[in-house]
Symmetry: C2
Subunit: 360 residues, 2 copies
Amino acid sequence: MDGPSNGHPMVGGEGPHSYSRNSSGQRIVIDMALKLIQEAVDEHLEIKAFSSSGAFLITDLGCSAGPNTFYAVSSILQAVEQKCQSLGLESQILEFQIFFSDHVGNDFNTLFRSLPPDRRYYAAGVPGSFYGRLFPKSCLHFVHSSFALHWLSGVPKEVQDKSSPAWNKGRIFYPNAHKEVIEAYAAKFAEDMGVFLCARAQEVVLGGLMVLTFITRPDGIAHSQAFVTRCLDLLESCLVDMVKKGTISEEKMDEFNLPMYYASPREMKESVERNGRFSIKKMVELVESAEAYPPPTGKMMASTWRAPLEGILKEQMQFGEEMLDELFNSFTRKYEESSIVEFVRESSITFVLLEWSTAD
Amino acid sequence: MDGPSNGHPMVGGEGPHSYSRNSSGQRIVIDMALKLIQEAVDEHLEIKAFSSSGAFLITDLGCSAGPNTFYAVSSILQAVEQKCQSLGLESQILEFQIFFSDHVGNDFNTLFRSLPPDRRYYAAGVPGSFYGRLFPKSCLHFVHSSFALHWLSGVPKEVQDKSSPAWNKGRIFYPNAHKEVIEAYAAKFAEDMGVFLCARAQEVVLGGLMVLTFITRPDGIAHSQAFVTRCLDLLESCLVDMVKKGTISEEKMDEFNLPMYYASPREMKESVERNGRFSIKKMVELVESAEAYPPPTGKMMASTWRAPLEGILKEQMQFGEEMLDELFNSFTRKYEESSIVEFVRESSITFVLLEWSTAD
């Protein structure tokens, strides 16, 4: 539930509400994804074609401030090294350069200070939105992005337009809104994915791989039924309570919408096929096998959501620390009173492996 | 007087003592260097050899948090573009990637937020000391470093060792110290330059250029006579006053030494020749032609020195804001009472153009 939004970065630093302290839940999924990455490198990476071309360039898009990004990239690096060894290419001493990329408001200072001292790669930070070009042409060998692509480039314009049938009055999100709002969000996701894929198609070398891991709404499940969107419903109802109490104005509530969308695996597949630059080599839903996932408590969930949403609430709702505490304490209570945890399997994590295969 | 030290970065942010607000004096010299860079690109850059190899990669080593770094790199970019145009290569649409590099403690967040929105390059930040490898092999086409190479990788060990004849008791710098101290500093500079040049020789492509601009002690001028070292003498005497007043302990004063060295152009030349990887294509002393340089006031000089030294004084002398104010107010007074400004021409700025010419 992290990743870059358009100017609403994760909470930086290393304080109690920081992203770097509230991202351990993702580690389980990263571990599952890691096995798939190893398989992907084994089966699909044409390392011989790259090993003569100098360094092997990897980027993690939506890296935030760590530590999961270090874990992910070093796993990719290890898989590539193992492949080199198994092919007898280790004598060529392949060098690695890793580009940690996130929005310009990301806390790169914390990221850089946390870089593992024993790393076997050259590190660089790349500021900017992944809904646009970030790198020169044909330079990347491996693109990784985890828990980031549910962030849209922005809120769909129509949902903030009072004269539009898609105006999202009194709500902050789409799942329980009327049809036009859901359609506006879905269209924005499709548009953003197109932009994302076109940019990456320019940057990735022929035969380069891209692994995207993201929270999805399982195919056939309604928007309002997914676990993640149920959580945001609870948050919305906490905000509605604050409007009723007069803590937030009705106008501010009407103006505020979350720039996020939880696509289904099918929607993702359609976006890739419509774009046509990448071919899907593998697509796996991860959560079903995550039996070890402990049921999250209210406090855990509040922290999990506060880290990515604090920035946007401060900026657009002018929330201070007290208001944030009030909101997320109320969220914790509502979460614990609800039976929402029973629906935890109604969101899935989808792993997609793409190969760049068509000239742009 | 900026650039990376080993863990003592410039004052970040945009406050009154920040580097980004106290670096305008360097602009005059950068303007002079810019003309020389244009000539260097015109005369020495084998752009045809690079134009088919994808992007043109530039790094600024010791970039600090801006804005001078943006000015410098965009000047290099412009010079390369002009050369492409003059050779009829513009149709190849050369892309640029700029690596802004400085110590891991540098304020990259401010740097990234200040990136010019209309830039024609892909930006990346690279954290780490330039006294070591920062990039994969053979990837850089142009290396730039301005006002950074007088920072050593650290204080020479001997000057902090009570049992050594080079122990620098009661002083923070070498110019007025005894012979052994000066020799220890000179040896550290020679060693560091060797490490710097070896690292760059690995990273720069064959035919790649490196431009280094740095404050020097003119050949034939004693260490104690140069303007920059006279300024640091004043600072030292302010600290001695604080020891006398009991504000600083004698022990702390004995332990503290500045990790800086102002080499002469000849010393620089010898370092390059001893290393043997780069050939000197041009070496120019800039200050003689800097008639337009306004004589700096005490307040200006205090700000100029506070920006780079605040970090190290906070860390090693445990100075807070009040102590820093006391020190630099005292510096301002002493500077204005002195005739030091008459010696402003006794430091020079040396511009060196190097070409990578020998395989490592």
